[in-house]
Every structure is written in structure tokens, then in C-alpha cells.
Amino acid sequence: MSVLVYIENREGKLNKGAFELVSYASRIAKDLNTGVTALSIGNVSESELSRAGQYGASKVISINDGRLETLDNKAYTIAIEQVATAESATVLVMGSGFTGKAIAPRLSVRLKAGLVPFAIAAPSSYQPFVVRKKTFSGKSFSDVEVKSAVKIITLSPNSFGLHESPVSTAVTTFSPNLLDSDFSTRVDSSEKFSGKVLLTEADIVVSAGRGMKGPENWGPVEELAELLGAATACSRPVADEGWRPHAEHVGQTGKVIAPNLYFAFGISGAIQHVAGISSSKVIVAVNKDPEAPIFATADYGIVGDVQKILPELIQSIKASRSH
């Protein structure tokens, strides 16, 4: 019996999301009186991997098989399944990002393991095994009982936090037994949005809506994001009209995010928008309409014109930093 946690890297580095997953897995392992094994796929150095020990992983397994770089869903699933079986994992923890969404459901079938996606807390009980998740896009929560022997949980980002529990860590390598026929997707080309803060990983998100009036007015939005080390986001009509890239669209039909701080400039706060941001720790809204529904969700608000407030906010932050 063990808890296996699959951790992702970005260009060879483990990020906060990976450590949050290890923290979460460690909590479950402690409750179950067992250990945590972390699994990494990709080219990550041993010293980087051993950082998982800080959060409680006593063992890290590293798969470095170049063929898996294509994120082939079938082959990836088989590789993780082989590790889960070798480790006799009874609980498997993954992130709920693009890889988790693609792989966890396939693993669920292969391992005949019940899956709780987008969990927001550690299991509330182990016998029966019950985990809480968000449902109806954040309008409710459901407690899901997993009845199978093996369980899979994907964790909503920023829902558990980082918890250090240092242990000494052994890093080992594993070569999955993969046939060429297990690979069935060919990558023709890739595009990386490098250098930018990723929306799904950002602590602070600066988002703007139709109240900005047009793409030519986005300068101060980007400037504020830059100043705060934040990612930029937008409402759906803004992406649909091509003012901003689709990757920035947050909400029910876009990305669901949970930063520590979310700024909504000129966003009305439609229920479908709020569905994507309601888990943010602090929400700040600036809107010229005092009746805008966004103020019902926001923690701090200013009724005013974004064109005026945004530059003042930037000045004010700069000023607060200079003394």
C-alpha cells in the first residue's frame, strides 16, 4: 500500500503546484499510515526532484523516456499504470490541469479505480473513502464516496496549500515497458507561451472585460500585471471578439482559476464568469455600474471608470513600493 502522486515539471523545474500535490498526498499517506511516492515524467535533475522530500515524499520515481514528450494519452496512461502497480498504490493523486484531465480518466478505467476530479480538500473520512469536490461550477459542493479498492483524486489548484513535512528522499529511475504501437499521436508543431506567467499557475491575475471598450486599451492591464508579476485574463466576449487570445478566457466555458488575488476591470460578473473565479482568495472589482453583479462576489470594490482607476492604481502601487 502507498500513495502515489504524479508531479509535473515545467522546463525541468518543479513548481508550487507540484509541491501542493505532494503536500496533499502526504496528508493522505499520514492518515493511512503509509508513505508517499512521487512520480515525475520528463527530464528533471535528481537534485530538483529531491525537493519533493521537503513536502513529505520519501521516494521519487523518475521516468525519462523521450517518446513521452508528445504527451501521448495512451502511452502516458500505460507508463503511470505500470508505476502504480509496481508501487501497489491504493491512492493516486494528480493535478487537475491539462495532463490530469487527459490521463486520470484513462487511468481510472485501466486500474478500475473510482475517480474524484477537482477535489478541494483532503478526504473527510477513509472508511468509507469520501472526498469533497466542487459541482455546478462552484455553485455547490458534493461529497463523493469512492467504492473501489484503488482511488484516484485530481486536486483543484490552490485548494490545499503547501505544507512542509521534510523527509529524506531517494530518487530512482524507472523505464516503462512501452511498445511503439502504444504511441498513436504525432506532434507536427508546438507553440510555447514562454516567459509569461501562466494563468493557471499565477498567484495574482489581472482580468478585464468588455468595459475596456477595445483591445487598444489593454496597455494598463498588461502594465499592472507586469508590475505585480501577475497573469492576464479576460471575460468570454473579449476572447470571442478577438481582443485577447482564447487562452486568457476564464469562466464556466474557459479556465477555472483560484489565484490569491483576482482583479476584475470592467467585467459585469455574469454567473458564468464568476463560475471560473469564485475560488479566488481575494477578488477586487472596478466597475462604473454600482449595481454590477461582480460586487456581490468581490471582496473590495471601486465604482468608477477603468480608464481613470487603472493608471491611478498603477501609480499608487509604484508609490507604495518606493518607500
Partner: protein, 249 residues
């Protein structure tokens, strides 16, 4: 070539969620049911592909697992343009069971391309597509934001963490689609609504699948405290509050 779009029947996205008195279930009375938004975009893209000159797609089917109450949603899919519909007669307990039932249908009907939405807006699982692909042994690609046919191959774009990729896959194939796959969902035309009445909607008996999970309780979020309003003439006060009170900058 036969294409299947899997349809989830969900409450309209503006629905206020109420719970039953014992919190064991969601109170579904008075709810307006719709095609899950991503499934609607998937169907829209499927129709665009079929209408492309020289398209090899002969037929677009839609399928959903559920009780007779969801038939209006399948009829709507037929009105939008699907050729036929299947309802698998079972009140499913989890996504695993839905996928098992859909897999049985696909085996009986042999579809070459299957489209699923990335998640359904009720239980927000993002599960059925991947589970179905694994049940069938199909190649799957998730987070697909563009899809085109190229002879017996499919060319697609998917979003990955921090970027996107252009891929080629061969058939049979299952795509789990998200934003971008189509921009505006199609709405039924008057003629579509008329012809939908006579298109086949086949009820299929369940295959004896079983669930691995069950919802045992529900809760509603606690109400947020009132928004702290800051005067528009005093923006520096907001900065102070974010720094000293909320401690987020």
C-alpha cells in the same frame, strides 16, 4: 465515416442550485435543461465538418445516457442537425458508468470519430471522454481547440500547460473538445425543428454497467461577506487594504 457526439443533459448555466432537505441530492424541480455547452460546440463543429465539400462523414449521431426526461435535449440536437439519436436507458450514478454504457453503444454501432465535451457543467468531471476512449482502446486527445479531417487522418490543435500543439492522429479516434472548437453554438432552424420530430431516436437498454463512486452528500458555499467599497477618489486606500489587510500584494 460515422461520427458520434456524446451529449450531457445539464441545467441551464444560470440555474440557482438548491439542495433537497437532507442534502443528499440536488433539487431538480423547475430546472431548464440544455445541451452541455461544450457538447453543443462539439456538435456544431461536427456539422461544419460534414458540410465541407467532399466530406467523408456520412452520418452524425448523438447519444446520451439517462432517463426519458432527457429526450427533449436529444431532440434539440436533432433539430440542430444531427441525423439520429440514441438514449441509453439508465439513470447513471457516475461518469464511469456513463462511459461503460457509451462504450457498449460504440461497439454495437462502430463510430470512427467520437467527440465529447471537456466537462459537463453539472458535476464538472472532465471524465467521460477519457474513460470512454480507454474502454474502447481508442486514441484520445484532450483539450482540443481545433479539429479538421485530412483523408483518413485528423489534424488538431490542443492546449497544453503553457502552450499548444498541432497533432495528427489516425482513426478510430476520440476528441475531448474545449473552447475554440467552434465559436458560436448553432441554434435550431424552424425547418430543423420540424424534421427533428421524424428523425430516429432509439432507446437502447442498459448493458449492466456499474458505478465506482457515489455522491453521498452536498453543500452550498457559505455566503460571502459584503464587498468593502473604496472611494474612486482614494485609490491608494485600495492598495493599502490589499497590502495590510488582505496581505495579497
Amino acid at each position: 465515416m460515422k461520427l458520434l457526439v456524446c451529449i450531457s443533459n445539464v441545467p441551464d448555466t444560470t440555474t440557482k442550485i438548491k439542495l433537497s432537505p437532507d442534502n443528499k441530492s440536488v433539487d431538480l424541480s423547475g430546472i431548464q435543461w440544455v445541451i452541455n455547452p461544450w457538447d453543443e460546440l462539439a456538435l456544431t463543429r461536427a456539422l461544419e465538418l460534414k458540410e465541407t465539400a467532399g466530406s467523408s462523414i456520412e452520418k452524425i449521431s448523438v447519444a446520451s445516457v439517462g432517463t426519458a426526461e432527457l429526450e427533449p435535449t436529444l431532440r434539440k440536437a436533432l433539430a440542430i442537425g444531427a441525423d439520429d439519436a440514441f438514449r441509453i436507458d439508465l439513470n447513471p450514478q457516475d461518469a464511469y458508468q456513463v462511459a461503460e454504457e457509451l462504450a457498449a453503444l460504440v461497439k454495437a454501432q462502430s463510430f470512427d470519430i467520437i467527440l465529447c465535451g471537456i466537462e459537463s457543467s453539472d458535476y464538472n468531471g472532465a471524465m467521460v471522454g477519457g474513460m470512454l476512449a480507454e474502454q474502447l482502446g481508442y486514441t484520445s486527445v484532450s483539450s482540443v481547440s481545433s479539429l479538421n479531417l485530412d483523408g483518413s487522418n485528423v489534424k488538431l490543435t490542443r492546449e497544453i500547460d503553457g502552450g499548444k500543439q498541432n497533432l495528427t492522429v489516425s482513426l478510430p479516434f476520440l476528441a475531448i473538445v474545449q473552447k475554440g472548437i467552434a465559436i458560436e453554438p448553432r441554434i435550431p432552424s424552424m425547418r430543423g425543428i420540424m424534421t427533428a420530430r421524424t428523425k430516429p431516436l432509439t432507446v437502447v437498454a442498459a448493458s449492466g454497467s456499474s458505478a465506482l463512486t457515489a455522491v453521498v452528500g452536498n453543500a452550498l458555499p457559505t455566503a460571502k461577506s459584503a464587498c468593502h467599497m473604496v472611494d474612486a477618489e482614494n485609490v491608494s486606500e485600495l492598495v493599502r487594504l490589499l497590502h495590510e489587510e488582505a496581505k495579497v500584494i
